[in-house]
């Protein structure tokens, strides 16, 4: 049978589901590291998140009479929700987060492509403010737990906090004149792995940054290893799933803001903040490569994406340095999600044939 249709009759091999599966694959290294660091409980949390979100998607598929599980977007949402949980979180929390993400954030606006906020972030922020203490309770990764038991007890009061919360709390209580984050870690005898210690002696980078880079720190399941997230992110850029604009502008602008103004809460004035270290802490890498780049809620033009990334960087800096919460990535990205339609409205690609003809080169 011969089909007749409109041109083009060729198609690139891209499809929505392929993109979603590539994103899931890119998240796998971080997931594996999370399970390795925090134990099988972490895997359970992620599995529950994915199951809930896929089930919710299926149920809404029954209502809307279209089966949308195959496009893989529910899988990605569930995976991201799971990776944004602490490994010891009560299991009802990821269930609520996933269900909120799919049902409220995504489907009340019409399903895939219609939501204005990143579903996974929406789910995370919803449970973050609903169950604040449970969401702020983190365990040490296996690599640090052994050391912590033998080393000093000074961090006991903060055993459940991430390094960023640790800094914020120390900042509000302790004597901090002239210090920066690194010296505060040293001063408080923050646990550090043997590996980072010995590597630090070799290459001269402080062990706290190295631990954060390789993923030996407290945090959510998927956010701890900056290195593996970076690998996943570069994989996505190479496979052309995402463009470099958002992650690069986000990370660079955040680092610069932090370098210029980040010393102010410590009382050391401008241009004294840390440039690199904060990039590896909290959910910044996960956010920059996997959350902020969510197609649906980010601008469509390269220029718009740069603005979006710089906005994310600015708000992340603002929330982290001057907000009451230690973490600002989720809120910064959601805030920029709100601005996305406005960016798209005003930032347009340059149209072909709309320049004024150059008189010296002929033409009219």
């Amino acid at each position: 049978m011969i089909k007749v249709s409109s041109s083009p009759h060729f198609h690139s091999k891209q499809s929505t589901s392929k993109i979603m599966y590539l994103v899931s694959i890119a998240l796998c290294p971080a997931l594996i590291w999370g399970v390795y660091s925090f134990g099988l409980r972490a895997l359970l949390v992620v599995a529950v998140s994915i199951a809930t979100s896929v089930l919710a998607e299926y149920l809404f598929g029954l209502i809307s009479k279209e089966n949308t599980i195959a496009d893989g977007s529910a899988l990605v949402t569930g995976l991201l929700v799971g990776l944004n949980m602490s490994s010891n979180v009560p299991l009802f929390i990821p269930i609520i987060a996933s269900a909120f993400a799919i049902i409220v954030v995504k489907w009340t606006f019409g399903g895939l492509g219609c939501n204005w906020m990143n579903p996974a972030l929406g789910g995370r922020v919803f449970v973050f403010f609903s169950f604040t203490s449970a969401m702020n309770h983190f365990v040490l990764p296996n690599s640090l737990a052994a050391i912590d038991r033998v080393s000093s007890a000074s961090v006991d009061s903060l055993t459940s906090a991430t390094s960023l919360t640790f800094l914020k709390t120390t900042l509000s209580t302790g004597d901090i004149s002239g210090m920066n984050a690194i010296s505060m870690f040293q001063n408080q005898n923050y646990p550090v792995t043997q590996f980072a210690q010995s590597l630090s002696e070799k290459i001269g980078i402080n062990p706290y940054t190295l631990d954060a880079f390789f993923g030996n720190m407290r945090g959510c399941i998927g956010e701890v290893s900056a290195l593996l997230l970076l690998i996943g992110g570069i994989f996505l850029i190479v496979t052309k799933v995402i463009t470099w604009h958002i992650p690069v502008s986000y990370l660079v602008s955040y680092a610069l803001f932090n370098w210029v103004f980040g010393g102010i809460p410590y009382g050391t004035g401008a241009f004294s903040g840390l440039l690199i270290d904060p990039l590896f802490r909290g959910g910044l890498m996960l956010g920059a490569f996997f959350m902020a780049t969510d197609y649906v809620t980010s601008p469509i033009t390269p220029k718009g994406r740069l603005i979006f990334g710089i906005g994310c960087g600015f708000f992340t800096f603002l929330f982290r340095s001057f907000g009451s919460l230690a973490e600002g990535v989720s809120l910064a990205i959601i805030l920029m999600n709100i601005v996305t339609p406005t960016i798209d409205r005003f930032v347009k690609p340059r149209k072909f044939g709309y320049i004024k003809p150059d008189k010296s080169k002929g033409g009219k």
């Binding site: 249709s5 409109s6 041109s7 083009p8 198609h11 033009t301 994406r305 690609p349």
Partner: protein, 438 residues
Amino acid sequence: MPKFLTFKKGGVHPDDMKALSKGSPIQRITMPKEIVISMSQHLGAPAACIKQKGDSVRKGELIGEASSFISANIHSPVSGKIVDIRKVTLANSVSCDALVIEPESDDDDTSFESPIDYTGFSSEELLQKVKESGLVGMGGATFPMNVKLSVPIGKKVDYLVLNGVECEPYLTADYTLMKEKTEEILLGAMIIARIVNPKFIKLGIEANKMDCVALFNEVIERKGYPIEVIPLKMKYPQGDEKQLLKATTGREIPSGKLPLDIGSIVCNVGTVYATYQAITFGKPLFERVVTVSGNCISKPGNFLAPIGTKVCDLIEAAGGFAFEPEKLISGGPMMGFSFWDLDTPITKGTSGILAIRFDEKPARQTNCIHCGKCVAACPIGLEPTRLYNLIKNGKYAAAMATDLMDCKECGCCAFSCPAHLPLVQAFRMGKKLGRVKK
């Protein structure tokens, strides 16, 4: 590795698939039993038929006369008898009157072989000859050549750009022509140069045809023609005159204007060759090279066929179908028209006939995921996703106000859309309905 020029904005890289028919020389097909020659071979008004049923025609005889300013003459490609005048539907869904000619004998092939001395012709006389010969752009748009080459008083032509890009996948008609008729094409270019008097002559060829670049350079050096061959980086839609001019001259055609408005003229190499034949041998445009290719064709190749040959005759010349095709396409796969009737005749603009079946099932259409790939691919800088939403919601006037008319339906957006949205189809509909609503 030399740095090839190209246009900057947008564009996609489909598999070029040219290997299927690249090695095949131009073969003349055996004379079909029936020629169906429509009166709408070109852009603009259909030609007025000047023959009647039962009339005898000679090869190259005028059978349709240009009926308005933008229109072109049509000549009989064979000697024979007009057995019928009936309505036909062309591959691009245009329906019009067509003469059905039954060829008589195939062996009076000595016509149009003796050269005419044209050295004394003035440019007006040459242009008149172009008009009489029914030349149209053979790249697909079929714009009447004499209109293209009539430079209004006060306008100067800086660039004559010959288009040997052939960026559509599968098609090798221009490639084979450039390979076999290198000298003739250059002579044709010099003839056109005499008509329009350009400052520079450039020939753009994509990097997958470097052998042609070498051939041209060799002849140009030997004969001392003032023509510059420019190898271009492979990128679709470089064969479009807007992108080609941007790549070769750096000039941008303003929205809604013609190449002449920026002092340029673009001619497809097939047209240039036809011009050469028209001027040198007095041979009107009544046959052309057609690529017959696709994964359902037994022996893909390039065929010299009379205009009005039916698709079934061409496919027979290419060894018939190897598999049952899923789609028949007239032209290239990116901008060509799909059709279903094997009795459809080819026209002056038919560069290829493709019979394709798809190994993979097409992915399911999903909602737009706002990925921006269409925006990145659009060579014009439109936002296809926004236009699509406007058209889907019936806001045609708003779509027109968002420069829908600048879309040239190159298909880059729909090619790269991961949600598999029928973007180009929507734009076609939007343009039609938008015009009606105005």
